[in-house]
């Protein structure tokens, strides 16, 4: 059997600075802090009944932010529901994410090259393949990257997408965040294969494992996958090993299926923010008080986004009808009247 080593950068102090500049590492760190702050805020808002069900990405900040920094704005990001961190880096304002959690808008990506977050698991992977092919056909220097979890690897669409990508050598990246859990189901129960990266073997494509709590390693891995894709070497399946620190969503109670002590290392020395912080301190670019400042800035920023979102005008019935088709067909015009109390 082939070995599937886990790629790390931060373990190897000598190497990291050559790969990722301090400046970039610091920007990644700031955004990780921002994402954490945002998630904690959203959890609070949910408890207060100000937003609906919310899936935090607590613990997965290195993968979310590190990966997105490796992308060009011309790349297509095809996210799952937990990927507001990557979406933010790619250009989607946090305000829109809050709106999403408020049940206000499915997705408002604006001009950003991103699809609405896929709710049905794994079913968005074929879209990334098609987008990647479209980019290649039109001669664009762009790739498509799909974000998904360990649980998603069990769905048929995962298989069909990776197989298509292999056959068509689509410039696609499949970023699997193995956070240990699919709601209550541990990854050991999701598949009998000891790694998820080895599933690449089934498609004759490149597969790698990366330490998903090492932001620099994630950045580097996605960057390489992107280069492979653009130089027509085909798609890459990345298994990013991380850990879901919070509940699956605010509707979930993880104490039913996992032990508090399981979390201890992940909340401590494995925490992606702690790890990058230690590294940056050693590099001498992060002072002991900088983190506090960043947290404060982040909080302010997040609060502003929430305020902006909450100040939005009330939703209107017509918004439910006007974007089903490019042109509203007569029956929807009539149904809108019906809703508004006109004749049926």
């Amino acid at each position: 059997m082939q070995a599937w080593p886990i790629y790390r950068v931060m373990g190897d102090d000598a190497n990291a600075p050559n790969l990722v500049s301090d400046d970039l590492a610091l920007r990644i760190y700031k955004d990780m802090v921002l994402l954490r702050t945002f998630d904690e805020k959203a959890l609070n808002l949910q408890r207060q009944g100000r937003v609906g069900t919310f899936p935090p990405s607590l613990g997965q900040e290195a993968t979310e932010i590190g990966s997105a920094y490796a992308l060009s704005k011309k790349d297509w990001l095809v996210p799952s529901y937990r990927d507001h961190g990557a979406l933010y880096v790619h250009g989607v304002p946090f305000e829109n994410v809050i709106l999403f959690a408020m049940g206000r808008a499915a997705s408002l990506a604006g001009d950003v090259r991103a699809l609405p977050s896929s709710i049905p698991i794994a079913t968005h992977l074929p879209h990334a393949v098609g987008l990647a092919m479209a980019m290649q056909m039109q001669g664009e220097e762009s790739v498509a990257i799909a974000y998904f979890g360990d649980g998603a690897t069990s769905e048929g669409d995962f298989h069909e997408a990776l197989n298509f990508a292999g056959v068509f050598k689509a410039p696609a990246i499949f970023l699997c965040q193995n956070n240990g859990w699919a709601i209550s189901v541990p990854v050991s129960r999701q598949t009998a294969s000891p790694t998820l990266a080895q599933k690449a073997v089934a498609y004759g494509i490149h597969g790698v494992r990366v330490d998903g709590n090492d932001a620099l390693a994630v950045y580097q891995t996605v960057k390489q996958a992107r280069e492979r894709a653009l130089s027509k070497e085909g798609p890459t399946l990345i298994e990013s090993l991380t850990y879901r620190l919070g509940p699956h969503t605010t509707a979930d109670d993880p104490t039913r299926y996992r032990q508090a002590e399981d979390l201890v290392p992940w909340r401590g020395e494995h925490d992606p923010i702690v790890r990058l912080g230690v590294y940056l301190e050693k590099q001498g670019v992060l002072g002991p008080k900088d983190l506090d400042g960043m947290k404060k800035d982040a909080q302010e920023w997040v609060n502003q986004a929430v305020e902006a979102a909450e100040a939005m005008p009330k939703v209107k019935p017509i918004e439910m009808f006007e974007h089903v088709y490019a042109v509203m067909p007569p029956r929807l015009v009539q149904q809108l009247q019906d809703l508004e109390g006109g004749v049926q």
Partner: protein, 325 residues
């Protein structure tokens, strides 16, 4: 006899069934340790173990397809789909196999499969968690489709479903899971598949509904009652096969009919019921059969949910119009 909500009634039924028949097993996403995302299978895993309460990989076609094999092989599998909107990747197993294996094998292969799933809206769930897709199933030969609207019916229909030799799709209205408690007998009892329930008798208009809409129908019917208008509420309980007799005799009596469902209007089950009424009660009709339904839009994000869902005002308006003629 205990007062139970629908989740409790279903949970009790499952516990009893598991005791009574070693062939029965439950499989699906998060049904084991977690007890299901709505806790319908609470306690089953601890009591009956992982061999009978099976957390599966995340794959709906795999769940239903494997359950078909288990059913043919002599077990009595209950497959859970986490939300109806996630049934779609597994639909092929129902359309191509569960509904056809008996016919294709000239009666030699039975598929005693039960597929349970929460469905419908009304609880501000995230997108794609509130679909009401029953019409896809009721158009499919070989399947039976049931929808309880009360804890009692939930338990009684679950017993009928698990004992049925054919595939039964069991839809659980999310909105009703914890809304309302009632006395539910202990132990086995059945509510027969294929029989509607007259939830309220009346002679002025027949209001046909199922699932969470029954709750709305009753509220509005009681309101009309106060104004001296007698609405008969027919809770279908089984959507396939439809209780033709019950529909025919109620509409023949009242001459007026409104059909109520959450699903999008076009192609929803109201159309089929209207056609059925044409066949069995046309000459009794004093007004056109009307429908109050969800709209022909994807179930919206929850800020728009109240617009999407049929509400007392919309329903009352259509009833009033239908009574006019």
């Amino acid at each position: 006899m205990a007062e139970q909500n629908m989740v409790q009634a279903l949970n009790t039924a499952l516990h009893e069934m598991f005791e009574g028949d070693a062939r029965i097993l439950l499989m699906g996403e998060d049904v084991g340790k977690n007890g299901g995302v709505f806790r319908v299978s609470e306690g089953l895993f601890d009591k009956f173990g992982g061999q009978r309460v099976i957390d599966t990989p995340l794959a709906e076609s795999g769940i239903i397809g494997t359950a078909i094999g288990l059913a043919v092989g002599g077990m009595r599998p209950i497959a859970e789909v986490q939300f109806m909107g996630f049934l779609y990747p597994g639909l092929d197993q129902l359309f191509s196999h569960a509904g056809r294996l008996r016919a294709r094998s000239v009666g030699q292969v039975s598929v005693p499969l039960l597929v349970r799933m929460p469905y419908g809206g009304g609880i501000r769930a995230p997108e794609q968690h509130a679909d009401s897709a029953e019409a896809y199933l009721t158009h499919t030969p070989g399947l039976k489709v049931v929808v309880p609207s009360t804890p009692y019916d939930a338990k009684g229909l679950l017993y009928s479903a698990i004992e049925d030799p054919d595939p039964v799709i069991f839809l659980e209205p999310i909105r009703m899971y914890r809304l309302g408690r009632m006395e539910v007998p202990e132990g086995r009892f059945t509510v027969p598949i294929g029989q509607a329930r007259v939830a309220k008798t009346g002679s002025d208009l027949t209001l046909i509904c199922w699932g969470a809409m029954t709750h709305l129908a009753m509220t509005v019917a009681e309101d009309f009652q106060k104004r001296g208008i007698e609405i008969e509420v027919l809770d279908l309980r089984t959507l396939a096969p439809l209780d033709r007799q019950a529909i025919a005799s109620s509409v023949a009596k009242t001459g007026r009919c409104v059909i109520l469902h959450e699903a999008p209007r076009t192609g929803g089950l109201a159309g089929e019921i209207t056609a059925l009424i044409m066949e069995v009660a046309f000459w009794y009709l004093k007004a056109p059969v009307a429908r109050v339904t969800g709209f022909d839009v994807p179930y919206p994000a929850y800020a728009w949910e109240d617009f999407y869902m049929p509400n007392p005002e919309r329903l009352s308006r259509v009833i009033t119009e239908t009574l006019k003629d």
